[in-house]
Point group: none
DNA sequence: AATGAATGAGTCTTCATTCAT
DNA sequence: CATGAATGAAGACTCATTCAT
């Protein structure tokens, strides 16, 4: 399946930003990775790199939402869904190479302070948390508890990914469900 | 108190990297922030920017260790220490401006993959976790539980900071102790 | 009155070139100022920017000829017409903003050397001088004197406009008739 | 005689801007004309092209002041000095190629509106006029008349150069003294 | 020991133009 | 007849680094 140029650009950008951050990747590299000609970028993304970053973040967000759904949909209870999610994340971590971080924070929160970036990251993170919350409610949690746990899960996944990156070890992520279960 | 040139450079670098990431800050900016002459950098940091980044990360790490000690030393039990730590972090978040992230991951994990960076970040993160673990044991936790909880705390603090950044709201951090207490 | 697309393009181009010169204005800006669709330009102006510049220069020239006529037609003698012309020019200078220069030289003489441009500017300047000369003869000057004075007027108006631009003061233009009267 | 890099840059820039205007010349061309490496420009001219343009304008201004002095110093009266100045200008016009205009207006008045440019052009033009005025007074003119005539001369020279450019004929300049003598 | 000059590869972006529809 | 998509060369500028002093 051949993606259209704007999609190829967003995808390539997402992958590269994930590995080296917004400022760490040059447009020329993205262009060549997407096999797109130089001038084409500004045709599809009027504001250049920042627009592309937004598109890349949304691209990555959709992927994350899909992973959340894949983990929770077949689960019999919240704990199983959560555990599966961490295991899927660990597998993703291994596949992508140990250098990659959360695309959204890598793209939108690191790099030069940009109000639009901050706002978008907030929206995306909220969307992830909401999605987990929905699954939680579907699996029997009452709204308040579902919300708390979804936030907790998000925070642990986000921080756990960083620790996994630092240690170069995806098992950090696999061990987290037990950590959470044990409470604190 | 007037710091020596290498320290002024490391400190300025830490602050700037924290806000915009390793790749997002140019040496010239660091130099002028530290009021250090241009050629002086390579005198003190043979390998240039990467050496400076390592120094900046260590500088930031020492600050973090101090904050951990300040939170736990006067605490009567682990939970109090943990809660104080989150509150201190929230205050720090407000002081530094809502754009700053964890200096260590911002400097060493984002940006171009660099084995030395990764290894250093692992050492620093482990040092933080160890320090919390020591406080935990001192406050009565057995070694295994202390280790688990220290790791949990680290992960939540790290992820919580990201969410606080995205939401531009330090209260995210202040609410985390209750989240953890509630278990998952 | 709604101008046709080619005329809107020429007019917008004239205004913009006048302010920032031929090389200083991009086609995209002209297009958006004229509210003309992107592809439309090469439909009306086969040779692109250079054709448009020529059209813009002719547009501006017609405007200048009109101003000359407006100044001299009601005049009782050459001196009055000349004085009125300088005052009208000063008013134009104020209306257009102090940054604008002679459209013809700004478009055709600055920017990359182009034989067609040079030749067109010569024709246009000659047309202006001829028009003044005609008015001079009509007002009683003999052909030779009319020619000399028309050239003199042109040269002073052209140079005076530059000085007015540099000083940001239209009174430079208003004071010129006395300067000329005083001889040299 | 080998000029220092900043001077070579200013000189090359002056020549090129004169021919094609501020916006019409790329830095790479100036750099290669001055045989200066790319990064060197921003070392000597912190604000890049605009600083270089200012330096080029001052360079050209010094040259013009020298020409004024060369014309008036040996003159026995004002009219002779003026006539010589126009003839020297005509010769310069021929030497530089028929495409070159006044460097100062070409650099500072065409191109994007820039307050610093406008102010500098005003200062430079005033300096030229003052210099002519000084010569006039030295040659017996009273202050008021010297000022008027110097301004007149400047305006005519400036406008005359444009007409010479359009006609591609330096004799336009040579004929101007008679034009002025004849009064208007 | 300490530093300002110098460097060229690299940055993001805009350019005028062509082309397929 | 009219137009939005597409293009690659060129634009100005910043980068981390080296070097002579």
């Amino acid at each position: 399946m051949k993606l259209a140029t704007p999609d190829r650009l967003a995808q390539s950008a997402a992958r590269l930003f994930q590995e080296r951050g917004y400022e760490g990747v040059g447009l020329s590299e993205i262009l060549s990775a997407a096999k797109a000609p130089k001038g084409s970028l500004y045709h599809h993304f009027r504001n250049g790199k920042s627009d592309l970053a937004l598109a890349a973040a949304h691209f990555a967000s959709r992927e994350m939402l899909r992973i959340i759904d894949d983990a929770f949909t077949p689960a019999e209870n919240y704990k199983d869904g959560m555990t599966t999610l961490f295991h899927k994340s660990a597998k993703l971590f291994d596949i992508m190479g140990k250098w990659n971080g959360c695309p959204v924070s890598g793209i939108l929160l690191n790099g030069s302070p940009n109000p639009m970036f901050r706002k978008t990251s907030e929206m995306i993170f909220n969307a992830w948390i909401s999605r987990v919350k929905e699954h939680g409610q579907r699996l029997g949690l009452d709204p308040d508890e579902a919300d708390t746990r979804a936030t907790h899960l998000f925070v642990v996944l986000q921080g756990g990914w960083d620790l996994a990156r630092a240690r170069g070890d995806s098992n950090v992520l696999r061990r987290l469900p037990d950590l959470l279960a044990q409470g604190l």
